[in-house]
């Protein structure tokens, strides 16, 4: 796979606004949008030069617009999790942000028209909208199944409706949409949409469950995983998970450069967080 080399640029915050539980941040960052593909991510410095936080934070590209009034903009959807995302949730237009990207593997697209189901959990739906555009450009139908714990943690329902017509939404407690998880709703959705492929992005347990349902229907499923990352560019070996290679051998694969998009069936979900004994180079 030939991928564009990432760049490091000093971006400028153009806008930040709340969207449900999240913050939608738009950044002028020349050189990134034109190289990026759906599923890739950017890594941002947080806290300013005197911060005690040394490491970058990673965010899926929600939108990447190569041209326009600014020399190229990217949009990300930030959920506040810890100190770095808290800081990001307070940036103001005009603030400068150091951005590295595009990083990681993009979603691969069907080579022939194929109806696809795009499953997002929480902010995990962010990268699915540009994916839907790319799918449609290839005459692939793209429908959405979005879930979260609560209504305000569903991202992009309106946008999904605008582009895809019917959108199914789940919340854990049923306070909005269908009660339960996206995996609970998935069989009905596969039947309803006639999907021939599934794409998913969201928390790890969700990816695991969604992929299992897809597999039970014999459908291929690509997932964009989220592992804790120190460097984001492939030099530190922090972000690994056990993945089975083409050769059938399990390796601790870096989710920042070999992922974040993996074929669901290649990830050894039972063993995430461990080094399985049959991994290449596992201690005896």
């Amino acid at each position: 796979m030939i991928r564009a080399t990432p760049v490091q640029v000093r971006g400028e915050v153009l806008a930040r606004r709340r969207v449900g539980a999240y913050h939608l941040i738009e950044i002028a960052a020349g050189g990134i949008a034109e190289r990026s593909r759906p599923g890739q991510f950017v890594a941002l410095s947080v806290g300013g030069p005197l911060s005690s936080m040394l490491l970058r934070r990673s965010f899926a590209l929600y939108r990447a617009t190569p041209v326009g009034a600014y020399s190229g903009t990217v949009q990300i959807v930030v959920g506040v999790h810890g100190r770095g995302t808290e800081w990001l949730a307070a940036v103001r237009p005009g603030d400068s942000l150091d951005v590295v990207g595009p990083l990681g593997t993009p979603f691969r697209l069907p080579s022939a028209p194929t109806p696809c189901l795009l499953v997002g959990g929480g902010y995990g739906s962010a990268p699915l909208f540009s994916l839907a555009d790319a799918l449609r450009a290839r005459e692939c139908r793209a429908e959405f199944l979005l879930g979260a714990g609560t209504h305000e943690r569903i991202f992009g329902e309106l946008e999904a409706k605008r582009t895809a017509g019917a959108v199914t939404v789940t919340t854990d407690d049923g306070s909005y949409g269908r009660r339960g998880t996206v995996a609970d709703a998935l069989p009905d959705e596969i039947e309803r949409t006639g999907a021939q492929a599934v794409y998913a992005c969201g928390p790890m347990p969700m990816l695991r469950a969604v992929g299992a349902v897809a597999a039970s229907y014999g459908l291929p499923c690509q997932v964009a995983v989220e592992e804790s990352m120190a460097c984001g560019i492939g030099v530190c070996m922090t972000c690994v998970l056990p993945v089975v290679g083409e050769d059938g051998v399990t390796r601790m694969s870096r989710s920042c450069v070999e992922g974040p998009v993996f074929d669901h069936e290649r990830v050894r979900w039972d063993d995430v967080g461990t080094v399985p004994a049959d991994t290449l180079g596992a201690a005896l």
């Binding site: 005690s52 691969r108 959990g121 943690r153 998935l186 969700m206 039970s216």
Partner: protein
């Protein structure tokens, strides 16, 4: 919940103390952190005779930390007994008195002088001092030298007053030093003192500190301190530990308790926030209650429990905004397998 804790025979109303050298003898802190409300005040290390300390500059700020080379400036034990302990006693505060010396005899003499001092609840033996009788080697770096100091202090100290040996992290094997001190009679351990460090000024092209090297403290060293507490508690689970090193919040203090400390000292954080000790106590107490702990004793060393063994306490809210893992997953329908095309850009 009940915040009471103890360091050996010393009963403390709560587990948050000051750190030696970071609160003087409590007086200047009183407007910000009333001394009687703290577990105890750990006083600046006192020596037999007054000490003027090292030349200035005595400090350098470093990333998330600072270096100091104060050189144990203090008014000597006589002035300390005359002015400082009575003041703490008047306010109903408890004092853990830190002592420092250049020889075993110095330490013993200090312990004897302090034996029936007011407000005293424990002695902390600062053995991160050069041994003038042994080429200036630091007591804390040699298990034998450390144990001699501890034994001498223990012998001069009343039974009801625990003796805590304060260890340096700048050693190859902190557990062996800890064990030597305990074998010599230490009732508890304070972990950790500062790490030896230095800064060179990029303008003057010389060491920044008057003393050339200094002690590194603050949040920068917290992971080292937590590791030391963890290792020593794992090896000597019955020995009470006073944890110190970079504690700035209640969550930081909780880390030390979980690693095995029975109480904690807040040091450098006081310089940035003079009310830090009382704030840390309030935050810690809220965290402990949130986790459903009923007493400090339950928390001490809790992170050492075997994998799989979980608390029945109410779990804190999950930080993850996405949906929970499904309880059930739909069964397969037997459709034909279909492969995605390869990457084609």
């Amino acid at each position: 919940m009940n915040l009471a804790t103890s360091l050996g025979a010393a009963a403390l109303p709560n587990p948050v103390l000051t750190a030696s050298g970071c609160a003087a003898a409590g007086r200047e802190l009183e407007p910000f952190a009333p001394v009687a409300s703290l577990g105890a005040v750990v006083t600046k290390s006192v020596t037999l005779r007054p000490r003027a300390g090292r030349p200035t500059p005595r400090m350098a700020e470093t990333p998330s930390g600072m270096l100091n080379s104060i050189g144990l400036q203090n008014p000597g034990v006589a002035a300390f007994l005359a002015h400082d302990l009575p003041w703490l006693a008047e306010r109903g505060a408890r004092a853990v008195v830190s002592i420092a010396g250049g020889s075993v005899a110095d330490y013993a003499a200090l312990a004897a002088r302090l034996a029936d001092a007011p407000a005293l609840v424990a002695l902390e033996v600062n053995i991160s001092c050069p041994n003038v009788e042994s080429r200036g080697e630091v007591f804390a770096c040699d298990p034998l030298a450390a144990s001699r100091v501890v034994a001498a202090v223990r012998a001069e100290t009343p039974a009801g007053i625990p003796v805590l040996a304060k260890l340096s992290p700048d050693v190859t094997d902190i557990v062996s030093v800890a064990r030597a001190c305990v074998d010599a009679g230490a009732d508890g351990l304070t972990l950790i003192n500062t790490l030896l460090g230095m800064v060179i000024d990029p303008v003057t092209l010389r060491p920044r500190l008057g003393g050339v090297t200094g002690g590194l403290s603050g949040p920068a060293i917290r992971p080292v301190a937590v590791r030391c507490v963890w290792q020593v508690h794992a090896a000597l689970p019955a020995v009470p530990i006073l944890g110190a090193g970079g504690i700035r919040t209640g969550a930081d203090a909780l880390e030390f308790l979980l690693a095995g400390a029975s109480a904690v000292s807040v040091g450098t954080a006081v310089f940035g926030d003079p009310s830090a000790p009382v704030r840390v106590l309030a935050e810690l107490s809220e965290l402990l209650a949130g986790h459903g702990f009923g007493s400090v004793g339950e928390v001490v060393g809790y992170a050492h429990r075997p994998a799989g063994e979980e608390r029945p306490a109410p779990p804190p809210p999950a930080p993850d905004p996405g949906p929970a893992p499904p309880m059930s997953v739909g069964a397969g329908s037997g459709r034909p397998a279909w492969r995605l095309g390869g990457e084609d850009w």
